[in-house]
C-alpha cells in the first residue's frame, strides 16, 4: 500500500467515524425531534462513507467495463457499492417516515421538544414521567403532581 493511499484511507475513515459520532451525539443530546432526525441523517452518511472506504483501493477505477473490455487498472470492490446504493434508498424511506411521524406529533401536541412531549403524554395518560408506570388509584390527588415533582 503506497503512502498516498494510506493517507486517503486514513482521512476517509476518520471522516466517516467522526460523522457517525457526531450523528449519535446529536441524537443523544438534542431534545428537538427535527434535530434528532438530522442526527440520524449524519449517522447514515457516516456509515455509507465507511462502507465505501472499505471497498476502496489505491489507484483503482470504478467497476465498469469500457467497450466490453476489462480496464487495465485494478477495479474497486463492487459489493460495498451495491450495499450503499440500497442503503441510501432505505435511508430516504426511513427519513420520510420519521418526518411524517413528526408532522403527526406536532399536530397532536403542538410541540417537538421531547421533554415537554414526555410531560404532556404523562399528563394525558396518568403515568409517572420517569418510568411510564401508571400511578396507583389509591393515591390522593390526580397523580400528576407526584409525577412532576419526582422529575430530576
Amino acid at each position: 500500500m503506497t503512502e498516498e493511499t494510506t493517507l486517503v484511507d486514513f482521512i476517509s475513515y476518520v471522516g466517516a467515524i467522526s460523522l457517525i459520532l457526531l450523528g449519535i451525539f446529536a441524537m443523544v443530546t438534542f431534545r428537538h425531534l427535527i434535530r434528532i432526525i438530522f442526527g440520524l441523517m449524519l449517522l447514515e452518511a457516516g456509515v455509507n462513507l465507511f462502507l465505501i472506504t472499505i471497498g476502496y483501493r489505491g489507484g483503482a477505477v470504478a467497476p465498469i467495463l469500457v467497450n466490453g473490455e476489462l480496464p487495465t487498472a485494478a477495479m474497486v470492490d463492487p459489493i460495498p457499492q451495491a450495499l450503499v446504493l440500497t442503503a441510501i434508498v432505505i435511508g430516504v424511506g426511513v427519513q420520510a417516515l420519521a418526518l411524517a411521524l413528526v408532522i403527526k406529533t406536532y399536530k397532536a401536541y403542538g410541540t417537538l421538544d421531547t421533554q415537554i412531549l414526555a410531560q404532556k403524554i404523562a399528563e394525558e395518560t396518568g403515568t409517572k414521567l420517569i418510568d411510564g408506570i401508571p400511578t396507583p388509584i389509591s393515591d390522593t390527588g390526580t397523580g400528576l403532581e407526584e409525577s412532576l415533582s419526582t422529575k430530576p
Binding site: 467515524i17 467495463l65 463492487p78 459489493i79 420520510a96 417516515l97
Partner: protein, 231 residues
Amino acid sequence: MNFREISGLIFIVGLGLLLFALLKILFVEQLVTGGIGANILATAPEEVGTANIVTSVLLAYRGLDTLGELTILFVAATAAGLVLGQRSSDAKHDPDAGFILHSAADVLFPFLILLGAYIILHGHLTPGGGFQGGAILAAAFFIPILASPASPLNHRVSSAIEGFAGAAFILIGLFGLFGKGDFLAPLFGTGEVGNLFSAGSLPLLYLAVGLKVGAELAGLLAHLHETEAND
C-alpha cells in the same frame, strides 16, 4: 451544561475511542482484496454479461436482497401515507408559484423524463440504474406539483404503477425459478457485453425497479407536500 449533555459527551468519547481502535484492523489489506469482490470482478462479465459490475451484484448475485430492499421502501412509503392520511377535499392549497416557475417546470418535465428513462435503461452499461433513474423520474413528477399546488398527483395511478412494477419484478424472478431452478436467475442468455440489448433479463428487472422507486418517491413527496398545505 446539564447532566444529559455530560453523559452524552462521555458516551461519545468512549465510543470514539472504541471505533478509532478499529482503524488499526481496517488497514490490514487482506481484509478487502481477494475474496468475494475479486471473484465477482473476474467472473461477472462472462456469467451475467453486464458492463456495470455493480448492477450484476445488485440484480443477479444479490437479487433477493434488492427485492427485500424494495419491500422496505414500499412499507416505509405505505406507512408514511397511512400516518399522514388523506387530505380533505376542501382544504386550502398553497398559493400558485407564478409564470417563471410554471414555465421552468413545463420545460424541465420532458428532459427529466428522458434523462430518467435513459439512466434506467442503461443501468447495466453505465453508472446509474433503477434507483437513480427512479429518483429522477420522481423529481420530474414532483416539480410540477411544486409549481402549481392546486393540481395534485393522482395517487391511484402512482400506486397502480408501483404495484405492477413490483409484481413484474417478482414474476421475472418466478420465471427464473421455474426456467433455471433459481429465484431471479438471469434469463435469455448474456448477449454481447456492452450492447444495449444484453445481460438477459437484467434491464427488465431494472426497469421494474426504476418505475417502482419513481412512483413510490413521487407519491411520498406528494403526500408530505399535501399535508404541509393542510393547516
